[in-house]
Symmetry: C2
Subunit: 146 residues, 2 copies
């Protein structure tokens, strides 16, 4: 694909070289379940074109990417029944960006958690569970458009 970077794990996900639990896709963006979820339903939105950080992206594309957030967050909430959610996007190693391909985290939160701003240790999820969940959320997105 145009703009793909060799050895970028997110570029490989976009090219479907690495299987993933996708919940939404259009010409420019892909949304899929994070393999290392902070909570069930933890989703990433990425641009299909490779940009290291948000500073490398055209302003209009940043806007387009984030305009997907309410649509996807509503669908996730409808499925997961979370009480709230964080929208986080890290730029640079100093900001805890692990994969240097822009990604927006949607992290479902629960009142019982008492988050207090902590970003807890993440665990690897079972791919089958992610696929099952992705399917439910995909259906929920489709029902929004009906």
């Amino acid at each position: 694909m145009d703009g793909a970077i060799r050895n970028c794990i997110f570029c490989k996900i976009i090219q479907k070289d690495i299987p993933n639990a996708i919940i939404y896709e259009n010409e420019k963006f892909l949304a899929f379940m994070d393999r290392y979820p902070i909570n069930q339903g933890h989703t990433l939105i990425i641009p299909k074109h490779h940009y290291n950080t948000i500073l490398d992206m055209p302003q209009a594309i940043v806007g387009e990417m984030y305009s997907l957030v309410p649509k996807l967050a509503k669908a996730i909430t409808a499925v997961i029944n979370n009480d709230g959610f964080n929208i986080n996007q890290n730029n640079g190693k100093s900001a805890n960006q692990i994969v240097p391909h822009v990604h927006v985290h949607i992290v479902p939160r629960y009142s019982a958690e008492k988050v207090k701003g902590q970003w807890p240790t993440r665990k690897i999820a079972k791919m089958q569970e992610l696929h099952d969940l992705a399917q439910k959320i995909t259906r929920s997105i489709a029902s929004e458009n009906e």
Copy 2:
């Protein structure tokens, strides 16, 4: 102002009832220095219309709001000389949203910090320092447009 909520501190900031160190303003959005900064240069972007969470906002307005982020983050980085930054937006008490009026955090980060995903305790800043900083960032934004 249309859509202002009594007792909302951010609506009061928009109406200029509470003084603040503003770095950017247009018809729909206001950006100002956070009074409780995690790091120097910590900035908030808010819609002038009151929305509790991002789920209450029209999708296009969410996109417009976030399309300001690269512009403002570049100007902040030019002034503060930070190594990276987080873009965070919390929805609901369970997600640690303190003020129930949508706000996007731009938090400058430094390599020396070793953030590791922590959202450390915040301290109140001196208003004069915020104003001085806001002025520098405002100039930096203006110079981007030259």
